[in-house]
Subunit: 227 residues, 4 copies
Amino acid sequence: MARAAVPSKSRGRVALVDGRVLRASRLRVARREQILLAARRVFARRGFHATRVADLLDATGIARGTFYLYFDGKRAIFAALLDDVLVRLRAPIHAVDVRPGAVPPRVQLQNMVRSILGAIVADRDLAFILLREAPHAEPECAARVEQFYADILAMITSALAHGCALGFLRACDLATTAACLLGSVKEVVDRRILAAPVASGLDLDALTEQLLEFSLTGLLQSASLRR
Amino acid sequence: MARAAVPSKSRGRVALVDGRVLRASRLRVARREQILLAARRVFARRGFHATRVADLLDATGIARGTFYLYFDGKRAIFAALLDDVLVRLRAPIHAVDVRPGAVPPRVQLQNMVRSILGAIVADRDLAFILLREAPHAEPECAARVEQFYADILAMITSALAHGCALGFLRACDLATTAACLLGSVKEVVDRRILAAPVASGLDLDALTEQLLEFSLTGLLQSASLRR
Amino acid sequence: MARAAVPSKSRGRVALVDGRVLRASRLRVARREQILLAARRVFARRGFHATRVADLLDATGIARGTFYLYFDGKRAIFAALLDDVLVRLRAPIHAVDVRPGAVPPRVQLQNMVRSILGAIVADRDLAFILLREAPHAEPECAARVEQFYADILAMITSALAHGCALGFLRACDLATTAACLLGSVKEVVDRRILAAPVASGLDLDALTEQLLEFSLTGLLQSASLRR
Amino acid sequence: MARAAVPSKSRGRVALVDGRVLRASRLRVARREQILLAARRVFARRGFHATRVADLLDATGIARGTFYLYFDGKRAIFAALLDDVLVRLRAPIHAVDVRPGAVPPRVQLQNMVRSILGAIVADRDLAFILLREAPHAEPECAARVEQFYADILAMITSALAHGCALGFLRACDLATTAACLLGSVKEVVDRRILAAPVASGLDLDALTEQLLEFSLTGLLQSASLRR
DNA sequence: AATGAATGAGTTTTCATTCAT
DNA sequence: TATGAATGAAAACTCATTCAT
């Protein structure tokens, strides 16, 4: 929708027009962002189904027609938000480098988890949308979320398989264990970050540590390790 | 809504009437169950929001008016189903008995997890409703689900605290670790049971074992336990 | 939409149910007719595009939902009306019988034209819909109207070809002449019947005569026939 | 809207300004024509109701605001187009001169019909607008079209009356016969010109001949004239 | 008790027109 | 003059719930 700005160094009339076009384009993009920002908050607070287009209008202060100028409807703007969060959360996820000389795997994991939690804290509303709303909003959105998780699970599974092969990790059912890992992160995010009052001092490093500790060493005391 | 059957010891005419009332009452209850059963399937397949009352009617074969004779509406029947699943899943959950001479804690945990998974497999549709629909159906439903999870988390937290105090478990952030545990179970249920094709041979014992193993001993090889 | 009435002569419960069903079915059909009747008037007076569903509701005195219970929308009810008129006007149209001993062709034509005009007068609103609204209402409606006229033109063309072959009629360009005939009838219907004040004494026999006379013998005096 | 060019006889500065004004005015008129031309095509192809202002803009390549600078709106530009066609088609229509020494009436008629058909072919889009769209576009447009036809019918009626009085034409119901004539022409235009593929070799002289022949001498063989 | 026709509030979406730049 | 973003009135359609039979 938002057209790419056309930068120009020419003079006279053309420059004028280009200047106008450029400015208009910037305004367009800005307006779009403004609507997205407001919508993000509304969707996160009220949920997809309870949110009416009217709520989005109220939150942005624009007219009905204006909204439809920028988005094709409620689903479309929600999908745009979902895109946003999917991109942001996919960014920090990557395979662990186990080559000799690389950063130790545990540190890599730590950094990765920490980055993910950081991205979530940086935009709680988007995280709400991904975790709580998107899976039940629309078939299409749900499918995208499912694909996102499927990708992540594939990476986890691959990492587990490597770890086992290299002797770092114990043998386990990869699919089930991957689910355990994903579930742990999702629930911690949900209950320890999203559900936490905004003001409360979130210690992401501590959360990261707890997640890793739980996943890697389990709950038992070393001494009582062998049951 | 469903009136309690009125038992009667009187005779003759009155007894006859009582018999009728009794029969009617039984029919009432049966009909109610029939509607609930059909609704369960529909809600699980289409989701709360996408399910229209007409879908419930189609699935049951009753008339609109009849439906409202048994339930106060779409929300009410969904709430009734939610009640159902909450009761069923709460049943197997209880504190671990750590008194000397009791069944070993790990076995108790194993039995408990196994029971929960068993209850879920026994009624996938209800599990769908709890896991995927109820949290986004209606504020009231979401609140009840939240309360359910809060109860479970409280029990887990308490168990963790006991385990730590008794020296069975390592020290950890109780709230975060409880979330890890709950998340693991939820995700395993979702991906390894609900998402599994019905025909696929589910091995609940194996799933139980994987969950316990993951939670108690983590992923690392004992040898590489200390990083 | 309207289900066929199920007549029943059985007794007792079944009869009761059948009676109810029958009655309900009749009411349904009656209601549908009532809505169609009102809509016919509204569409004829205001035109398809200027008619809002609300106008139809006002005219019938039913609620919005009720309307959509009987028809899928504005287009659907208009299409139903169009069906109606197409059936009624197609009825009197048939090929001319030129076998020896048959009613004289001119009399057959006279009867046919007279029947058509009669059907139109019997339901001016429907004729309005066919002549003035349907061709511009919706692509689909327009197509049906066009097909209707195409059928008629095909019959006329065939009749002209026969007439020429038999020596009754002079040679002419069939397609163009068929258009002349159709156009004459349409315009006469439009201006001499539809545009006429309802009260005005319409003499359909006279109109029929004028139409035939014009088409068959043209305007020139016999004497000046050869220019 | 379009301001008349202001001719100027003054010199020097004022003349310069006048030159500018003149040029601006010419541009204005040209632009207006350009918009009308594009709109004509769009209205003819999509119809009045299905045409959105955006379609007109797309077809012309101007901005929304610019459009409203030249026309008061969708109705206004359509009305302007209608004006255009009404003027063009009224031009060739005039009374038949029956004074001795004048061109023979049949030749006059022939010329007139031929001129009308020529004007239509010269601008099929405008003819579409008059014949198919204007009568259903807007009450005001419909009224103008109706007035146009009323004028024509009045001329035809008067001509018929004269012809009868002079003994050229047979006695007939003037209003009905006038409708026959008008309807014949309209339908022939519609089906033999507008509906014809553009490429198809239209023989307007032949169509004219057919129309006259049909109207003046009818369909019957002279021999079988008296039924 | 059972039925299903009727209801109408609620929501989305379109598009002709305006107006600040 | 030209632009195109903004507007908001209209209009269609859905569906949970009621109620007369």
